[in-house]
């Protein structure tokens, strides 16, 4: 099947589980910034995919593998231009379809965080990867719940460079 005849995946899960699909076009920067901004204002946090848009409540597990890309700003609102700059500066990572732009508002301290987050449809893949990198927790987007996996958060001594932290992209047929 040629790329031209492949169906465009409706969501990330379909793309990752069906080799006969292809990614939709990348969202324009302005649209991406609006999606992030609006979801963050509405929900106090956003999980926005550069191609599939808002992943809120989707059956995906989020793992934060790039703490060096995390940023914090004061207040509950993120100016459009800062979202755009953040997105452009991290464009190297956003080439991988498993990486999304995440935001979170900390109401106690009135701080907003921006980060680059990996998402996986399969629980085991997410947790195994998080355990490999000694992560404290993963986040279930569907349940909107953090689940501790028992790591301490310390960086392993053999932590690979950012661009090598994700395993090779293996697209496969969905399990029965």
């Amino acid at each position: 099947m040629t790329k031209r005849t492949q169906k465009v995946a409706g969501d990330l899960k379909e793309y990752l589980s069906d080799v006969n699909t292809r990614l939709p076009r990348r969202l324009p920067l302005k649209e991406m910034a609006i999606l992030v901004h609006d979801a963050h204002v509405r929900d106090g946090g956003a999980s926005i995919h550069p191609r599939f848009g808002n992943l809120k409540r989707q059956a995906l597990i989020a793992v934060s593998l790039y703490p060096e890309r995390t940023l914090r700003i004061n207040g509950s609102e993120i100016p459009f231009e800062l979202i755009a700059v953040f997105y452009k500066q991290n464009a190297d990572l956003f080439q991988d379809p498993r990486l999304i732009l995440g935001t979170w508002y900390n109401a106690d301290q009135d701080i907003t965080y921006l980060d680059v987050t990996a998402v996986f449809p399969r629980w085991q893949e997410a947790v195994s990867l998080a355990a490999t990198y000694n992560q404290i927790a993963v986040y279930d987007l569907a349940l909107e719940t953090e689940v501790s996996i028992g790591g301490t958060g310390d960086e392993p001594s053999d932590m690979p460079p950012e661009i090598q932290r994700l395993p090779p992209l293996m697209r496969m047929q969905e399990e029965e």
Binding site: D43, R72, L82, Y105, Q124, D154
Partner: protein, 106 residues
């Protein structure tokens, strides 16, 4: 420059990672207005030699400290670094509080 952001908050020290530059790795439990909670980790460069020296002297794994992180934004990008910090307490409870699960569970 579009803007200089100076953010001060309490964090737990996870590690100090020596290198060029040295990084401070921190964690912070962050609750949204709707009560949902997530642990945020951040690895921030320590560029100032005196801040780095004080960090080695006064901050250990598990300590709670107050950090001031600066992000300098321009139209073309940003840079972020630890501007200052102050110790708050000796090690207490970690940021991890949810019930652990077994790796590989589904």
């Amino acid at each position: 420059m579009i803007r200089r952001e100076e953010v001060t908050s309490k964090v737990e020290v996870l590690d100090i990672i020596a290198g060029e530059p040295t990084y401070l790795l921190t964690a912070q439990r962050a609750a949204r207005p709707d009560g949902k909670v997530r642990t945020i980790t951040q690895k921030v460069a320590v560029l100032d030699a005196s801040v780095l020296h004080r960090l080695y002297e006064n901050a250990n794994k598990g300590d709670e400290i107050e950090v001031t992180i600066v992000t300098e934004w321009s139209k073309n990008g940003y840079s972020t670094y630890l501007f200052d910090f102050r110790p708050i307490s000796a090690p207490t409870e970690g940021v991890t509080s949810p019930t652990p699960v077994t790796v590989g569970a589904s």
